[in-house]
């Protein structure tokens, strides 16, 4: 911007000088015309007045008319008249230099070189402009009888002219240049004006630059700086483990950034919550194992000794019943412990040749006692001809229990849960299909259901503590596949296990 101001200032200055120069040239030419007219009519007073009048206007300092020898004939300064130009002023000396451009030897008429002389000369120096207009000899100058030069003696024309009325022509036809019009113009005023303008421009530029900087600073601070600071604070907060507070959304791209940051934070929170949950579950599982081991020892004692008592007290029916009750209840405790462990136990597969139908039936038996299944009708179709497969029964039971529970959650008001088991001889696999009449899973969730980073909406499906992801993992551990689909009226989970 500073560069632009300087440039425009220089241009402005040039234009002003040009205008003044042009003005001086015009003035010079006008003066020449007046000169010619006044001379032909011998009206020297008029010319003298005109010269006086010109001075003072538009910064014109002086106007001089010299003859070709350099003697001032008319001047705005009367004291200069008849002085030689070289003796008047320092400016006169400069003018004298111009004489030398033709007259190599000063005023020696015979030695000049007209070629060096230009028609009109203008010199700019300091705060002054010198205009140098040559007055060419014209036919009228040496043919018309009009006036006499000051130095020339008055030569009257013979016979027909009275004294003072007319004169012989004074200029010689051999002269090329009769004299010069020298005008000095001051550019001081214009320069001081320009200086003022320059100061104003510089001041304005500085103020404008300052305002622009402040505006830029403020807009960067509020539009970019603040949202970025929020983001930085957000990352610090997340690094410190605070996932709860979210970043206020900014504008445009930064808004997108803030939104995706918040989304990432929510996912982190959900993953962290899940991690904590699974960690908890793992420690609960470990604890349950320890407790179960502790209980299992005395339980062995109770079972074995009650059985021994039953065997020994064959004669006493009452006692047998009591001992049977003890044994039965102890076995119930054993079942309960097994069930608890099936939820919380580790997932190390221990393969055994098993009839899949038994596992499914056992899972159904367990869930039927749950309150969720009060209004749910479970229909299972398990052909007795199914081949046995090598699976981990505990893990598979976990999968079936979870699928049953998830299905029950999608049917809070009750419904039908259909379990269809088939053996495909061609594919050499057992196919198990769970289909319910529940509300189904939305397409959005269905796409993300097996994503390792679980989405918050899925939380409702994870109440059983083991997610569908784990179910899928277990099935894949058996080299099988697990697929979830939506039908118009519920969810279908299909499992295929190779035989």
């Amino acid at each position: 911007m500073g560069g632009f101001s300087t440039f425009s200032l220089i241009k402005q200055e040039d234009a002003a000088i040009d205008a003044i120069s042009h003005n001086a040239e015009q003035l010079s030419k006008t003066t020449e015309k007046i000169l010619r007219l006044s001379m032909l009519k011998n009206r020297r007073d008029e010319l003298s007045m005109a010269v006086h009048d010109i001075v003072g206007k538009e910064g014109i300092i002086s106007v001089r008319i010299l003859n070709h020898k350099g003697v001032i004939k008319f001047s705005s300064n009367p004291s200069e008249i008849n002085e030689h130009i070289s003796q008047t002023s320092p400016e006169g000396m400069a003018t004298n230099q111009l004489c030398k451009s033709c007259h190599k030897n000063e005023y020696n008429k015979s030695e000049y070189d007209i070629k060096n002389f230009s028609q009109y000369k203008i010199v700019k120096k300091d705060n002054l402009i010198y205009s140098w207009q040559p007055i060419y000899n014209a036919r009228s100058c040496y043919t018309e009888a009009c006036h006499s030069s000051f130095e020339e003696p008055v030569i009257k024309r013979a016979n027909n002219l009275k004294t003072g009325e007319a004169y012989l022509p004074v200029h010689d036809s051999s002269q090329t240049i009769l004299g010069f019009i020298d005008i000095e113009v001051s550019t001081k005023r214009i320069n001081s004006n320009l200086a003022k303008t320059r100061t104003q421009l510089i001041l304005f530029t500085i103020i404008f630059a300052l305002i622009a900087s402040i505006i830029t600073y403020l807009s960067i601070k509020y539009l970019i700086g603040k949202p970025i600071k929020n983001l930085v604070d957000g990352t610090k907060r997340v690094a410190e483990g605070n996932f709860k507070d979210e970043i206020p959304p900014g504008k445009a791209e930064l808004k997108l950034l803030a939104e995706s940051f918040n989304k990432m934070q929510r996912q982190l929170l959900s993953t962290q919550t899940q991690l904590i949950e699974s960690e908890k579950l793992a420690s609960v599982g470990k604890l349950a194992e320890e407790i179960a081991n502790e209980i299992n020892n005395p339980l062995t004692g109770i079972i074995i000794h009650s059985e021994s008592l039953i065997a020994e007290s064959k004669s006493n029916n009452n006692s047998i019943n009591d001992f049977e009750t003890i044994k039965l209840e102890a076995l119930k405790i054993r079942e309960s412990i097994k069930n608890i462990l099936s939820f919380t136990g580790g997932n190390k597969p221990e393969f055994r040749i098993t009839f899949i139908g038994d596992i499914i039936n056992h899972a159904i038996l367990i869930v039927k006692k749950f309150s969720n299944f009060q209004n749910i009708k479970i229909i299972s179709e398990i052909p007795k001809t199914l081949p046995n497969v090598s699976v981990d029964p505990a893990l598979l039971e976990q999968v079936f229990l979870n699928l049953l529970l998830i299905s029950s959650e999608s049917m809070p008001a009750g419904g039908i849960l259909d379990i269809l088991v088939n053996y495909s001889d061609i594919k050499k696999q057992i196919e198990i299909v769970f289909s319910d009449t529940g509300k189904g899973i939305s397409e959005n969730i269905l796409q993300k259901i097996f994503n390792p980073v679980n989405i918050p909406e899925l939380e409702n499906f994870e109440k059983t503590g083991i997610s569908l992801v784990v179910c899928k993992d277990i099935i894949e551990m058996h080299n099988g596949t697990l697929k979830i689909n939506n039908t118009g009226s519920g969810t279908v989970v299909s499992i295929a296990l190779p035989v």
Binding site: A292, N293, I295, T300, I303, I304, S308, A330, K348
Partner: protein, 137 residues
């Protein structure tokens, strides 16, 4: 003629030792002689002085882990069948390295008996082991 089966039971829980004694019943052709102890070192001592047909061991014992105990027993009697008793549901035969016949042991001679067990279950596991590994009916 009755088969005389000598069984060594090692478990830190007294109730288990008592229960095993109660559960294993002599029948027409089998007579069980049961020796029990609470620690691995006691068990090893007994094995060195007497010969047993099979051992029932809870691998969680004070002073020595189950694998180490089994390795030492196998160093004395390479072919002795060993049945693991455990109250941990996650225990499996694959946790014990000798099962797969590693370390030059010819017979994978172990089965699992999960606690709590019934009289029927312990008799069935022992009966199976006797049939499979000792050819005793």
């Amino acid at each position: 003629m009755k088969n005389l089966i000598k069984i060594l039971v090692i478990d830190k829980e007294e109730i288990i030792l008592k229960s095993v004694k109660k559960a294993l019943k002599n029948n027409d052709h089998t007579e069980f002689v049961i020796t029990t102890c609470n620690t691995a070192l006691e068990g090893l001592k007994l094995i060195r002085t007497d010969k047993f047909d099979l051992a029932l061991i809870d691998p969680i014992l004070p002073g020595m882990n189950g694998n180490e105990l089994i390795r030492r027993i196998k160093n004395i009697y390479q072919d002795m069948p060993i049945i693991i008793m455990s109250g941990y549901s996650s225990v499996g035969t694959n946790q014990f390295e000798f099962v797969t016949g590693q370390n030059g042991f010819s017979k994978p001679t172990v089965d699992i008996l999960k606690k709590p067990f019934t009289t029927e279950e312990i008799n069935s596991v022992i009966g199976k082991t006797l049939r499979n590994y000792l050819n005793i009916n």
